[in-house]
Symmetry: D2
Subunit: 340 residues, 4 copies
């Protein structure tokens, strides 16, 4: 409350708290009076109180996310991927680190067949590739669409690789389920597309939830809570770089979010070093940093021939660079007591 | 090109440019060689060249937006709103300034009837109100939905006020058209929901395109280009505050974008001072600043009884505050030679 | 405190609070226990408690700034400038709005004489000009130095204009006092040069304290508190644009800080629209926005011949543009009940 | 140039370029005309051209930093520290990784003696500690000052540890030289204190130049160029976290800057994970990430008894945590082929 608060103003706040079925604690200091709500304060919102006379500032003490919080579920969750088709599935989270490799976008059957072979050869157990591409300009390649899903499925199946691909529109969800997409990726621009989050929350497919370009950790956890509230708890957070004032690189990869998420949530956290830096030559350093900081996995762009890629050509590793990177990542995993 | 570039590397870049049907100009400096593409460079993307050996940096000289650019259309566009139902319609853009008032969310018929009367009494010709609400938490009020559209339509029709309301999901577009929503608002979290932009681009309804929380001017113009490319040129930009490091207020209202957009595009630019600041007491100062900086209009939250609002209670003006603000805005409009 | 806090952990926090002579209030909620310190909590710092077992989060309730706070001094402070040399002085703050015009840097006596004449002719009562220039590159013009102070003083005295100029180094303070600089400007890069703040705090000269490029309101107020704690309360805040992700303009002029500072402090707030936008054609829109938002004045760059300016040529208005701007600013001042 | 540019406007730009002794290349495209300056373009500044009629945009092609650039000096620089007093000195840069440990601030002789012993025992070859502390509030502990330098020197000498400490004011440089401070640290708030940079540029002491809170890579390199231009090339860059919109941690540690700086400059790059995260429990993850990303060293806060630290108590590791961290860092160094 403000410094010159009156008893009537204090009473009005206490009455408002009580009207929601909670109790109130009043602490009168020498300069400020603090009123605390006792009970399930998730029913209250700070803005309900900020307009009352005498109120200086109001805030939540208890966090707004429940299902995804570490407090509600102490042990690390391990997400089982792709096990539905008879195979044992790939575990993401826990002690094991998973690298998800593949091209930015699905181009042709030949390109995807080759990419799948190279991804498997490098030791990856999961593959990525975009059939629907969110592009800044309406005049550039927008992805192969549903045809791309079929191409991707066919290529990956040869090598037993579960597939990860981005869903941009709730109307395409049925197509994703028909093609049995193993992991649905929600892109950075869709992190707060709440209707889309609700839809994937109704499925049982693992979801990679990328962080919005300038989303706070709290907003990101709340976006995951939208999915979880629908019944789907198979959520994987993916840091992909945040927007900053710096112009020398596209985004700033935020490694600090890794230990912080690990503390706040039981769900796995992976990192996309390719989109974070935006240049292939930065990827090895960023990938190593992410694993060293405790990430449970990576999404890395690899293309059979980066110079010919239809999209984001400058950020894909070539197959050899990708293989070399896998080697050093294994070394770091070992140092910190994890397997890869 | 890098400082130690070879002739072969220069030739490779020139050949790549020519393979797209453009010509190349080579300028050899004392420290750097610069290669320019001559022709429609929108076919090219910097990333196609960044991977070639010897390339230091590549960039577009010509801007990527066409239909929305001032270069393609010298005069200010004026958007005609709500004229479809026989009435003459309300003009937004040009010399006239429009203030769009109304509550954050549609709550009840009584609340909307009262709000519509107060909005009209204050001299507004357009009304706002949300039936579908994007909320950070899945556990808070999510809007009245389609029922809210009917309530809003009914209340506004009594006072001949065209209505402005947010569309969050392409699957609801038909309902918006059925209820004859006059202006479709695309919210800050949907600015790069490209599938949604394509859908509203196929209608002929005026669209208010809010700026993404940390969208650059260029990304915003490109998002508008998505709508325009579909055939709908009735686009209104709406600045609503950008995300910053500052914690004393929710967003930073970016007045600088007003003169910059006025230079880059022929389309109208309005400002939402309520969401920018996040507190009702900041709104009058911000609203005045926006009009003084050249905005073509405002979206202002007004609630018959702010303390009882179901959503964003702390940012709505009460009817008297709203009326007083309208008065000072008229004065500023006059000083800069505009009418309101 | 964390959810599983023990009585021993609560006791340890309470004992630590008491060891500084304060009392403690304990509020046990259903999910969290909150401990409040009662007494002068400025003696405590959150970091003292964050390391104690069981503590989840600690924060100040009372603000850390005292002398500059509105709470300690209810009425607007008016700063008297340049009155020392017999003249009555110019008032900044209160109802009167002051525009401080002049070139980015002192170049020659002729340039400054001409600029002073034009500044006075446009109706300004104060003049700006830089003798010491903070430049990003060591290879560009660094200002005329002490010679520049003499040139500036001479030019301004002919028109009875108190002078405003930037101090970058405590070792130059004596020279500033010798040349009787009327207002010492602390630049954006020096906002947290605490030794420099302490030095100007020991003088009685009015100080314009520019906001750091990405300083929060709270840090800015604390920087002013450094000056005030030394005994000098003649402080003027100057917003000059904050750093953001946007690349279309140099900085984002933060108009929201104006009403917020007016609420938090009794000291005057001015704005520098020239540095904020970085381009002369943006200045009129930004200047009008600042005054409309409640600023007490402006720092505006005007150069007799902008194309020939030695520094920041693209952001200075020419004399005619400056005069025209003064006209529309007067109109806006009148609308909001102030004089200029 | 703008799309409707005239021949006269092109000529004016060409003439301006030639007036500085450079030549011009004109490339006429279908939509834009591009004019390039041939010769030493460092003499020119974009702002000189932005004001000329018909100019749309002007930029440097050649970078503004010279001495610190990788282009001017291909091999990694190795800085020799503390060799002046007869000892062989400690090498920073090249293949060797150095961890600089020690408390935030010098408190007492006992504390520093103990800290020095623990730093040496953990395997560090360099020690840090602050005698002059930049504090946001004037009412908090400001450091022991010159007495602190003597205490620090004495403690470190027992273990043959060269010392690193922050210089905030040019007037204290003589004291730093008298106490033979081995590495002068320029703090984040002083990165663009150009007069201070010039002063340390005149000494031959190694300088750790911390990145400004929201400094771009380019500004940081230019700040180093100020020191180098004075003759002192013993410069070490130190990333310490950048300011962002995120409130869950104090700063965002920017690992991307490590590979980028390694490409742009020959000088060593270290990281301060303690200030970046602001909490001791984040430090191990961040420290590992920095080394994995290629940093040449770290500045890590360690305090004999963190709970009793006079400053930043919540970010210091205790001696055991510090020792454990050193172990895992050595493992990562080995994986990437470096020694520590």
């Amino acid at each position: 409350m403000n410094s010159g608060v009156t008893d009537e103003q204090v009473d009005a706040v206490v009455n408002k708290i009580r009207s929601f079925g909670l109790d109130a604690n009043i602490s009168r200091g020498t300069e400020r009076t603090v009123i605390g709500a006792i009970g399930d304060e998730r029913k209250l919102e700070p803005e309900m109180f900020d307009t009352l006379p005498g109120v200086e500032y109001s805030m939540h003490i208890v966090k707004q996310y429940k299902i995804v919080s570490r407090e509600s579920h102490k042990h690390d969750s391990v997400i089982n991927i792709g096990g539905a088709r008879g195979a044992p599935g790939v575990a993401l989270g826990g002690n094991q680190i998973q690298v998800i490799g593949g091209p930015c976008s699905v181009e042709t059957q030949e390109q995807m067949d080759l990419a799948a072979q190279q991804v498997a050869a490098a030791g990856c157990r999961l593959m990525r590739g975009g059939a629907f591409k969110p592009r800044t300009s309406p005049y550039t390649f927008q992805g192969k669409g549903e045809e791309g899903l079929a191409i991707f499925r066919k290529a990956a199946d040869k090598y037993n690789l579960p597939i990860v691909t981005e869903l941009m529109d709730a109307r395409m969800l049925d197509a994703f389920l028909e093609h049995d997409v193993d992991v649905i990726q929600i892109g950075t621009r869709s992190m707060q597309n709440f209707e889309l989050l609700k839809e994937v929350g109704r499925t049982n497919k693992p979801v990679i939830l990328k962080r919005g370009m300038s989303a706070t950790i709290s907003e990101w956890l709340m976006a995951a809570e939208y999915i979880a509230a629908g019944g789907n708890h198979n959520i994987i957070f993916c840091e992909r770089g945040i927007r900053s004032f710096e112009t020398a690189y596209r985004n700033v990869m935020d490694v600090t979010c890794i230990p912080v998420l690990k503390k706040e949530t039981h769900l796995p956290v992976i990192v996309d070093p390719s989109h974070a830096g935006g240049k292939a030559w930065m990827v090895p350093a960023l990938a190593r940093a992410a694993i060293a900081a405790g990430a449970d996995g990576l999404l890395v762009e690899m293309h059979p021939n980066p110079c010919e890629a239809w999209c984001d050509a400058d950020q894909a590793l070539n197959p050899q660079e990708f293989k070399d990177l896998m080697g050093s990542l294994k070394g770091i995993a070992q140092v910190i007591g994890r397997s890869m």
